[in-house]
Structure formats: C-alpha cells, structure tokens
Symmetry: C2
Subunit: 435 residues, 2 copies
C-alpha cells in the first residue's frame, strides 16, 4: 500500500475514523511512520495524536517529529488535550514546544495547565461557542458556520453579557426550530446549569449525568465563562474514578493496569501486601496471647478461618454499599446516621442467621455443643460489628476529605479480623471450664 503512492494512501487513510487511523499508526514501523508524516498534514495528525497513549504521544512529538511540525499539530489539538499532554512532559520539553506554538493557542494551553489536577478547570476546554443575547437566530447560524470547525461542541451555545459573564444557554436544537429573525434573548434559558472551575472533576461528572447534558459550562466565582467540559471527557473521568475505586477495594491502587511489567506491578502492589502482612503479625501476637487456651482445646484453631472470613465478607459488603452510595450520591439523600443504622440492623440479622446455622451444624460434625456456642456467639458479635466498621470507616474518611485509600477493603477486613479474634478468644477463655 505505501510504497510511495502517497496521494492514493492519503485518500484511503483519511476515510478512516481517527481512532482507527491511530490503531493503524500503532502497527507501523518507524520508516513507514516517517513516510506517514510526509503524507499527512499536521492538522490531520492532530486527530491521530489525540487517540494515542501518553508514551506514544511523547515518542511522536518529542522524538520523531521535527519541532515545527509537532507545534503545528498541537495548535490544531483542542486546548484541553494539548494541556493534558504537555503537563505530563518534563518542564523544559513542554516549554520548548509551547514556544514554537502559535501564541494564542499556547496561552490557552498555559492557562489550562494552571488549574490543579482533578478540578473542573483542569479538564475543561476553551473551544466553545459564545453568543450574545441581542443576536438573531440568523446571525448565530452565520457565526456557527465560521466557528463550527474549531469548536469542541456546537450543540450548546452559551450566552454571555458584555463582561463575559454567563447569562444563558441555548441548544442548537432550539436554535434550528426557531424562526430566523427571533432574538436569542427570547429563546435562551437563563437558568444555566454551571459549575466553578475549582470544583472537583467528579462534581462535573455528577452534574452532566444528572441532567443528561452533552457539555457543562465552567465559570469563575464572578460567573465569567471560562470553558466547557464535554460528555466524552466526563466518561474518561468516570472511568478513572472507577479504576481508582476498584484499586482501593483490592489494595492495588494505581496498579490495576495490565500493561505494567511484572516487576513494576510487584513494586506497586507489594507495599500494600507487606503492610497488611504486618497487621497479620499483630493478629499472630493476639493468638499467641491465648496459647494456653488453644493448647487445651486445639479445635478452636479450626474455626479461625471461618470466623475471619465471615467477618471480612460482611464488612466488605458494607464497604461496597457505602462506597457505591457515596459515588452515586444516594447516601447524601438518605443521611449518614440512617445509613449506619441500616447497616447495623442488617449486620444483626445476618449475624443471627449465621450463628443459628453454626449452632445447629457444629454439634452434628464435632459433637461439641459448647464449641458451637462459642463459635456461634463470636460470629454473631463480630458480624454485627463488621458491618458498622465497614460502613463507618469510609464515611469518616469521606467527611474528613482524607485519601480514601486508607479505607481499602483489605484494611477493613484486617480490623474486623482482629476484633473477631479478640471476641472469639475472650469468649472461649471464659467458657474454657465447660469444654
């Protein structure tokens, strides 16, 4: 295909969706890639660039392309994607590229890079369409013809006053169905759903999801329109947050990427395992304290796993309920105390049920009623407590705005293990005389 039939290749290649172009690009060797750069303009390359991983982007923009071509390409990128890429580069590499870029585009990008990560400002883009309330439908349509190729979305038109404050919004749908001479002021909705640039990116995601929007306007404290966040960026935010939640659940935060090498994965994951293993040493110390009790009735050891797993599983269920409730905002609606009370009641019921099953089954297998009572009562107590621990720890962490990684699933399981074993051996020791 590409033994220098550039024109033919160009025509075929540009018919593909940019995402598929990027996939094709990823399969090429360097010599072919260099030919591709000659066949493709920098604005067409921008669409491919946007679909690549950061590592591929870096290789492309910093190593393979000459600086002028790279800067032209970044000029054509949406400012949010350019800012995203440049903020991950070394400072001097980013500066070199920014200096070669068009001043206007570079300023947009530098502005976006100034917002702290994970805020609404950091994920917004500058390429929106703003209109004024005294324009007519016809005038706006004319304006759209000019601006449409560069805007990230033209489906929402944001109405600003003469000091650039956001005063209204109009969908393209409403614009098209209106008569050409109508004035925007009479068509626009003045109750605009907007969000401040310093808000958490998750707030933007919640807003867009709640109102089924295609984009949300980002404003400054004095209501100046700064940028917009589109629904595709929000989908990426949701994906990242989900990965983060799952990482927390499994003590593998930041290490769930299958593309890491085994060594990198081990390096990221082993600190968690080792930290949790030290908690295991505490548990070992507790059991060691009760060595005398254990010596008298070794069978007690057999139920350690059952007790630990049951408490661990019940606590993890509560954790899942609370983590999901916080993510979806259903807990705010219901109230913290009511959530806790619900979890505790659930724990009491599950605990009671499990205890009853054990008190019936253990005597059948091991012929020991006292043992059954010890295990049953311990399971009842530790399951009731486990739900409260599983629910309260993430709630406290959320209230204190701490890093929720501390409340990871295995951590809660470990707390519940320790409490469960203390309960178990205390009960066993006090009932020892009857065994």
């Amino acid at each position: 295909l590409k033994d220098c039939k550039y024109a033919h290749f160009r025509r075929e290649f540009l018919q593909l969706h940019p995402i598929d172009q990027a996939e094709f690009y990823g399969t090429l060797e360097e010599s072919f890639r260099q030919k591709l750069y000659k066949a493709i303009h920098s604005n067409e390359m921008a669409a491919i660039f946007q679909a690549l991983d950061f590592e591929e982007q870096k290789h492309l923009a910093v190593i393979e392309l000459d600086q002028q071509y790279a800067a032209n390409m970044l000029n054509h990128l949406y400012a949010d994607d350019a800012a995203d890429f440049l903020s991950q580069l070394e400072a001097h590499e980013a500066e070199a590229i920014l200096r070669t870029m068009k001043a206007e585009e570079a300023n947009h990008v530098i502005d976006l890079m100034s917002y702290p990560p994970k805020t609404a400002g950091s994920i917004m883009t500058k390429e929106f369409v703003s209109i004024t309330s005294n324009q007519t439908v016809q005038q706006v349509i004319e304006q759209l013809r000019l601006e449409a190729p560069d805007a990230e979305t033209i489906y929402y038109l944001y109405v600003v006053n003469d000091v650039k404050q956001l005063v209204g919004v109009l969908s393209l749908r409403d614009l098209l169905t209106a008569s050409p001479n109508e004035v925007i002021e009479h068509l626009m909705s003045s109750r605009v759903i907007s969000i401040e640039s310093t808000s958490d990116q998750e707030e933007v995601a919640k807003l867009i999801k709640k109102y089924d929007l295609l984009a949300a306007p980002i404003i400054s404290p004095n209501r100046t329109l700064l940028g917009i966040v589109t629904v595709d960026d929000v989908m990426d935010v949701i994906e990242d947050e989900t990965t983060e939640d799952l990482g927390e659940f499994s003590a593998s935060r930041g290490a769930t990427d299958v593309n890491l090498s085994a060594f990198q994965a081990a390096k990221l994951r082993s600190p968690w395992i080792i930290m949790l293993m030290f908690f295991g040493l505490i548990t070992a110390g507790i059991i060691d304290q009760y060595e005398e009790t254990l010596e008298q009735i070794v069978l007690l050891a057999a139920f350690i796993p059952l007790l630990m797993d049951s408490a661990g599983n019940t606590g993890t269920q509560s954790l899942a309920v609370v983590v999901r409730g916080l993510a979806l905002g259903t807990i705010e609606k219901k109230g913290l105390l009511r959530t806790l009370r619900r979890e505790f009641s659930t724990g009491l019921m599950i605990g009671l049920l499990c205890a009853l099953v054990l008190v019936l089954i253990i005597p059948l297998i091991y012929g020991n009623v006292i043992l059954a009572i010890i295990v049953g009562v311990s399971v009842f107590c530790s399951l009731s407590i486990a739900t409260v621990i599983g629910a309260i720890v993430p709630l406290i962490i959320n209230k204190l705005k701490l890093d929720p990684a501390i409340a990871s699933g295995p951590f809660i399981t470990t707390i519940n293990d320790i409490l469960g074993l203390l309960i178990y051996f205390s009960i066993a020791t006090s009932l020892l005389q009857y065994l």
Copy 2:
C-alpha cells in the same frame, strides 16, 4: 405558592429543569400532587416522569393518574424510557396502559420490549432522524425543523437507502457548515460505526466511549436501521455495570443499594455470607485433619490469619487487574497468556519479598527459625498460586460466558485460603521433627 394560583405556579415551575421539577415533585404530598397534575400537561409531566425512580413512576402512572392522562404522558415519553418502565410492571398493568396509548407509540414500545434485557436493542430508542442521500442540505434543515422536537438527538443524522438500510451518517455540525444546495451523498461519511441489536449493551458503551460519539446506530443483521443509543443511556449502562462489578467484588451483588430496608439487605446479602461460611466449614475440616500437628506446636495457629490474609489480598489484586482489564478491553489487546504469565511473575516476586521479610522477623519475635521457614515457604508458595487463581478464574468465566458472580472476590479468597492452609500444614507436618 400553590394555593390555586395555577397559572403563576405553572410559569415558575416550567422554568425549572425537569430533573429539578422531579425533585420538587418528590417533596409534595398527595393533595398537592393532584393539583400539580391539573396544572401541568401530560407532555410536561412526561419530562418529570422520566426523572423518577421506578417505584415513584409506578405509583404515579398506575395509582394516582387516571389511565388516559397516564397513557398520554407515556405517548410523549421516548419509546426506550416507556419500554423500560412498562417492562418492569406486571403484564396486565402494562397491557392496560399500552391499549390506551396511541397505536403508533404503543407499537414502538412493544417492539423495544421484545429485545432481551442487556442487549443493544433493549436500550435503544426509535426517535432518531433518518434522511436519504439524495436530499439537499436545505431540505434536511427543513425536515429537522419539523422533527427536532420529537427526536432524542438531532446531532447525528443517519442516511438510509430505500429499503431502510443504513448507508451513511452526517453530523449536524457538518450539515450546518455545508452550502445549502449541497447533496447529502457528497457530505456524508459512508463508514458508519454501527452495532447489531443483539450485541451486549456493554459493547455499545465501549464503542461510544472509544469513538467519543454522542449516539450509535443499532442495525439488524441485514443492516436495516432499527434505532439509536444515546450517550446518556450509555452512562447509565456504565453506572450499572460498575455497581455490578463492585457487587461481585464484595459478594453483595444486587444488594449495594442504600435504599433497601435492613431486612431486604440482609435477605439479599446473607445467602452469600452463609455460602462462604460453608466453605469456612471445609477449612475447619482441613485444620481438624492436622490436629496432631497443631497439638505439638500450637504456635502454628497464630500464623493462620497472616497466611490467609496475604494470599487473599494478593489474589484480590490479581482479580482487580483482570476485571478492570476486561472492562476496559486492555486484556484483549495484550492476550490472555501474557496476562497470566505477568500475574504469575508478579506473584513470585511479591511472594519472595514477603517470605524474606517473615524469615527475618519471626525468629526475632518468636526465636524459632524452623517456624519462620515454614511460614516463609508457605507464604511464598501460596502467594504465587494466589495471583494465578485470582487472574485465571475471571478469565475462564469470561471465556465461557458464565455469570461472573461466581468469581466474586470472597470466593477467590476462599479458594486461596484452602490452598494456602493445605500448603502450610503439609510443610509444617513434614518439618515437624525439626521443631
């Protein structure tokens, strides 16, 4: 506000976003709600209805509204939302409403209800804009003016031939920037990204995410255009799938909703806990087999929790990596075998590191080198195996297209517990003479 000043209330109320109208509606008592129904037309009520929970919807449509008003309201709903609601009702209730609805709308809804749950067909809607390739830009704009109020999105225009097969797509953006006399055939892209109605709803979500689309067309096997799925529906799919994944991780599938009563939650969650408790009884049986070994050296029992937790945590990490990799499609790219090999290597490294730490620490605390070797070697073996179990079980389940709930986190933890204990006690028994 609403002591019968209907006209004034109406004006104020309709300025609110439907989502906020629904929130306000939720705070009203029945007598006020009845007044609201009088003030608001059935098409305006449809927007509120769409934002309610199923229980609220059912109460509204089946109990509080008279059947004609309810049917009118459902006529104005997008067909996918109506189908969603009606398919959750009892068959006779749904039929009663469908019979009162407009025949055309009712047929759309009945058609949508015929697709199996969780397929692309079940989440699509019929309200799309279809055009033909011989229309001009001006003609399409005229058509949009008429159809825009009823279509779920007008931002993508789907081009069909005379037997309704999908042959192209055109964005409203491209339409607006084209000259009015241009023919659609020259503007449209004929490489349309589409998906069959029988595909899994997650496939639609992946496609829309991958290509940053606002909607995707759903086709029959012979490429007839059946409907579209919009990005807001896809966000709901992603949310549901995330809830499901988290439920599987924590053995609380289908029970992570904070709004369930404590009794309902206990009813849904206790079967998992009890099932896992029975596995605990198996573990107890295994330990019981080694009672003699334990009697001779009770301290062995102290390290049961450490061993179990470490294997459980490591396995859960692998599970998280694989579950996330399957959800994001990164595992397909990397290959199953390479993923498994990566996990196993990671397990060997983490296992080795943990074993080294234990072999150094245990003699310091308990003054027992043999014990340290037993625990260290067991941890090394069980952690290496745990990563493989954690990775292979969800992969097999995914390949066999079974219900992934079987691979829930606690289930994998339990398998790893059993294997870990067998390794531990086998090693301990064979080294008993040296203790």
